[in-house]
């Protein structure tokens, strides 16, 4: 009772964008930098982009690095696996940190703590040190979770898929941009006069500095929620500080989080794997120059400019017509097609066919990533961070598994590895059939006709009656109301639910 009056006590804030009852923006205006919504969007995608550039800065320069550090194919494979392993637990930890401390502090801290790993790449001198710097640099990919969390906190249900998709897609662009940037920076430094084995080391300062500056920007210009930062809101009582154990428990006991973690491993995990192997694949298989292989490899990651956002937009469009069931169907279809094109990529033998198939494959796989995060914001409200972290972590686990099974050492040729990876994508996408929301249904079943069939029931089940008495569940209540659009077109003709009306309106 007191909580809502505290919120309305402060002057009603004016926002540049139209907002809902939680002050989340209901529109997404790409070319605006208005605080707090669009500014948060631009800060989060740029910083995530910087982390991607750093994590995948080594692959395009591997033909030089492997000679300098005397690496074998096994060493390179191990370092590739290491680069995506760190983020598995970092993403889950980041999810929890966002729930507890807010995305601004959580992401800026991580970015500044991993910047040293990028600086130290310049002084790597052996396979072991190379593996270590790639491992620690990879932790920075956990900023993905803070990006998604931040977008889910700033943008309302009709546009959350789009906001998530564009932010993550433009961040993932870093994986492609780095394949262009690093060879370019390297050749500029070499032309200035440095020898090859020194030029690549100097080149690593560029992503490192970019990362450091991005973190500063977040700390100076960013804000956790539309109403302010966590610390200030918690002190004024407007936001309740939640308990870690409860947040964590409700996250990991939600089976939908685990299924999405698995399927995300086979769209995003595959994307990470390809970022690691594709430049070397084109360089070695088609005898291209380093520069050319880098450009082709870059086009894989650069497709993220439109393909992941397209996934988010498709998810939102499907939801407006078919609700959550539409989101799930679109995700399954597009990710499975991604797997099919991956199989074809491993089979084609000519350079031009490989490039074309690779681009089609990238569009489908990246759109699937965007579609996944059209579903994630609805799995849990209380433990949004943990679910985002689990799904994100699952993405990295998929990358580890595929690299270990298909791309380590000399067991499979890269072409065979790519085909087998495609088969695994198709198989690991099937579990989406099992996702079911009582209030909205699943792929094959409609919403439940039993009593637990409203949005309020689903989201409030995360709070105990004790906690509800204290009024800790208010945000979830608002979210449940805002999420009614996930019923699809039927919303307009559906009557308001008879139970679950918030007591504070009395």
């Amino acid at each position: 009772m007191e909580i809502s009056s505290t919120i309305t006590e402060t002057q009603p804030q004016k926002f540049a964008l139209p907002v809902d009852s939680e002050h989340k923006a209901t529109e997404f205006r790409l070319f605006s930098v208005a605080a707090p919504h669009m500014r948060a969007f631009h800060l989060s995608w740029i910083s995530f982009f910087a982390c991607f550039v750093s994590t995948f800065a080594a692959p395009p320069l591997l033909p030089i690095i492997r000679d300098n550090l005397n690496l074998t194919a096994t060493d390179i494979g191990n370092a590739g696996v290491a680069s995506v392993s760190g983020a598995v637990f970092a993403r889950i930890a980041m999810g929890t940190a966002c729930d507890l401390f807010g995305p601004r502090l959580a992401s800026a801290s991580l970015i500044l703590l991993t910047a040293p790993a990028v600086y130290f790449t310049s002084i790597a001198s052996s396979p072991v040190s190379f593996l270590l710097v790639r491992f620690f640099t990879g932790f920075s990919l956990a900023t993905f979770v803070s990006t998604q969390f931040w977008m889910s906190s700033m943008f309302s249900t009709p546009v959350v898929g789009t906001a998530n998709g564009v932010a993550a897609g433009w961040g993932n662009l870093g994986g492609g941009a780095t394949q262009l940037i690093m060879p370019l920076v390297f050749s500029v430094i070499r032309d200035i006069g440095a020898v090859k084995f020194t030029a690549w080391r100097i080149a690593f300062f560029i992503p490192a500095l970019f990362q450091t500056l991005a973190a500063f920007a977040i700390l100076i210009f960013g804000q956790d929620l539309p109403d302010g930062n966590y610390q200030r809101l918690q002190k004024s009582g407007a936001k309740q500080k939640d308990k870690f154990s409860r947040v964590f428990y409700h996250g990991i006991t939600n089976y939908r989080g685990w299924i999405l973690a698995l399927t995300y491993g086979y769209c995003f995990g595959v994307e990470l794997t390809v970022d690691n192997i594709i430049a070397e694949y084109f360089y070695d298989r088609f005898n291209l120059k380093l520069h050319t292989a880098g450009i082709i490899a870059a086009s894989f990651g650069l497709a993220n400019l439109f393909s992941r956002p397209a996934g988010g937009i498709i998810s939102d469009r499907m939801a407006s017509r078919f609700g959550m069931r539409g989101r799930l169907w679109a995700l399954w279809i597009i990710q499975t097609l991604g797997g099919v094109f991956c199989i074809i990529l491993g089979q084609v033998g000519s350079l031009s066919a490989s490039i074309i198939v690779m681009i089609i494959f990238s569009v489908f796989v990246q759109a699937a990533c965007g579609l996944t995060f059209g579903v994630v914001p609805f799995v849990s409200r209380r433990s949004l961070g943990v679910i985002s972290g689990m799904t994100g972590g699952g993405g990295n686990v998929g990358a580890i598994l595929t690299q270990l099974i298909f791309f380590k050492g000399s067991k499979y040729s890269k072409e065979t590895g790519i085909t087998l990876m495609g088969v695994m994508i198709v198989c690991c996408t099937l579990p989406i059939f099992l996702i079911y929301f009582p209030q909205w249904g699943g792929m094959f079943c409609g919403p439940s006709s039993e009593k637990i069939a409203t949005e309020e029931d689903y989201y409030l089940s995360e709070w105990s009656s004790n906690e509800k008495e204290k009024g800790l569940h208010q945000a979830s209540l608002k979210f449940a109301d805002n999420s009614r659009s996930e019923r699809g077109r039927r919303v307009h003709s559906a009557a308001m639910p008879s139970n679950g009306t918030p007591p504070t309106t009395v």
């Binding site: 005397n70 194919a73 703590l113 910047a115 600086y119 090859k196 020194t198 690549w200 200030r232």
Partner: protein
């Protein structure tokens, strides 16, 4: 004598065919050149040590063997031990796809007499075990013969080269300084936030 001539003719014929199809295979090349490489004892250092290469026609071959030779290219090649688990250094019979010899030591027009060259090991040569091979090219720039300082199995006369690290003290210092700055800046921000929070409460 006639048999040798026949052998030579068939070699030349074969290499003509290979040229037509554009795929010259290493196994088709006759080993008519003699190559020796001398260097100081021990591990050679890139950018410092020198290798002296001497090459010439093996005089036991009949006159006229070298009629097609226009240019000689001497190359530094990886020994089998340095090719293990490194597919980018693989030995393949088709010369256009072969990656054994990736560094050019010298290229000279062919001459009847023995030639010498002293080569300072370049700074982009990686740490590995090597041997030296010379290819003879004809006027169409196709390989027609070769010679190497090791045996057919590439086990003798190998030498090791150690690469430069590429590191410099200034780079080391810059890395450490920037890293420290990032951490200190983060702590600075936290401190400033706490102070702001305390001020707001007052």
């Amino acid at each position: 004598m006639a048999a040798r001539g026949l052998l030579l003719a068939s070699f030349l014929l074969f290499s003509c065919f290979a040229e037509t199809y554009g795929m010259i295979s290493f196994s088709s090349l006759p080993r008519t050149l003699v190559v020796t490489a001398s260097h100081r004892q021990g591990l050679l250092k890139a950018d410092e040590d020198k290798i002296t290469v001497i090459w010439g026609l093996n005089q036991s071959f009949p006159a006229g063997t070298d009629s097609a030779y226009t240019t000689i290219k001497v190359k530094l090649c990886y020994a089998p031990i340095s090719q293990v688990d490194r597919a980018w250094r693989k030995t393949v019979d088709h010369l256009s796809k072969d990656k054994t010899c990736q560094f050019k030591i010298v290229s000279r027009p062919y001459s009847n007499t023995n030639q010498t060259f002293q080569w300072t090991i370049e700074c982009d040569v990686p740490t590995a075990t090597y041997f030296v091979r010379a290819y003879a090219f004809n006027a169409e720039d196709h390989e027609v013969a070769y010679g190497q300082n090791t045996d057919a199995k590439k086990t003798t006369n190998l030498f090791e080269i150690q690469a430069i690290t590429g590191r410099h003290v200034s780079l080391d210092i810059a890395s450490v300084c920037f890293s420290a700055f990032s951490i200190v800046a983060l702590m600075g921000f936290f401190f400033a936030e706490k102070r702001k929070g305390r001020k707001a409460q007052q």
